[in-house]
């Protein structure tokens, strides 16, 4: 079975480590790419925004989910968007927003961008399939 390539957007809602969603979504995304499909966007909403903190220190006996997403993102130029409204109230912030809110540091990891919910709605219009990984 090797279907015609199509485009996916992936919506992820659960906190990394506290929920499987970030991990299951990663395997799905990687597999879809390897099967020749295109990923239009990966959108992290709700507690899944925590994937974007570069201050995470993963224990040696656990998988570094952020690194995996970053490597996949770099290799395939993925558009990995973190919902800005969900992110700010959960302490994920880039340097621009840090200035705006007068924070003394920022923590957004490389490879991820903060953007609005419009990116989720665009994903529904610009991809052939939407797959949601709930918490």
């Amino acid at each position: 079975m090797s279907p015609t390539p199509i485009s996916f957007s992936i919506l992820v809602y659960g906190a990394p480590y506290s929920s499987q969603s970030v991990s299951t979504a990663y395997r799905f995304t990687k597999t879809a790419i390897e099967k020749g499909h295109r990923i239009h966007r990966v959108f992290f909403y709700g507690d899944a925004v925590q994937i974007g903190s570069r201050l995470v220190a993963v224990p040696q006996d656990e998988v570094d989910l952020q690194l995996k997403w970053q490597q996949l993102g770099e290799q395939y130029q993925l558009d990995m968007v973190i919902c800005i409204a969900a992110a700010l109230k959960r302490g994920i912030i880039n340097s621009d927003e840090a200035k705006r809110f007068e924070k003394d540091a920022s923590n957004l990891a490389e490879g991820f961008t903060l953007s609005g919910l419009g990116q989720m709605i665009d994903a529904t219009q610009s991809s052939d399939r939407i797959v949601t990984f709930g918490y």
């Binding site: 809602y13 499987q20 969603s21 299951t24 799905f28 399939r129 949601t132 918490y135």
Partner: protein, 98 residues
């Protein structure tokens, strides 16, 4: 044709019931994460009242992690990540119950 995914145990969550309410003829049902407990043959199988033409799938990595390989209902087909992607492609849309 919709692919429904369920990621919670049917013993402790209403996800599977919601799914069974919404699922239509010839839709697909894929159990993932803690949803794979719904594929366990020992627990009264809440999957019984399915509309016609529905195939029930369970994601291999989650089934194996939970020690369910030897406990699956015969009606359930275990699939890997590649087949998961194929299922999404072969259905018009997907709905996630969580």
């Amino acid at each position: 044709m919709i692919l429904h995914t369920v990621n919670k145990s049917p013993l402790t969550s209403s996800c599977l019931n919601n799914c069974l309410r919404a699922i239509g003829d010839n839709d697909g049902l894929l159990l993932i994460e803690d949803g794979v407990y719904g594929a366990d043959k020992h627990q009264g199988l809440k999957l019984k009242p399915l509309p016609s033409g529905i195939t029930v799938y369970a994601l291999k990595a989650d089934v194996e992690a939970r020690g369910l390989m030897g406990r699956l209902s015969e009606d359930v087909r275990v699939i890997d990540d590649q087949e998961f992607v194929d299922l999404v492609v072969s259905h018009n849309a997907s709905q996630s119950w969580y």
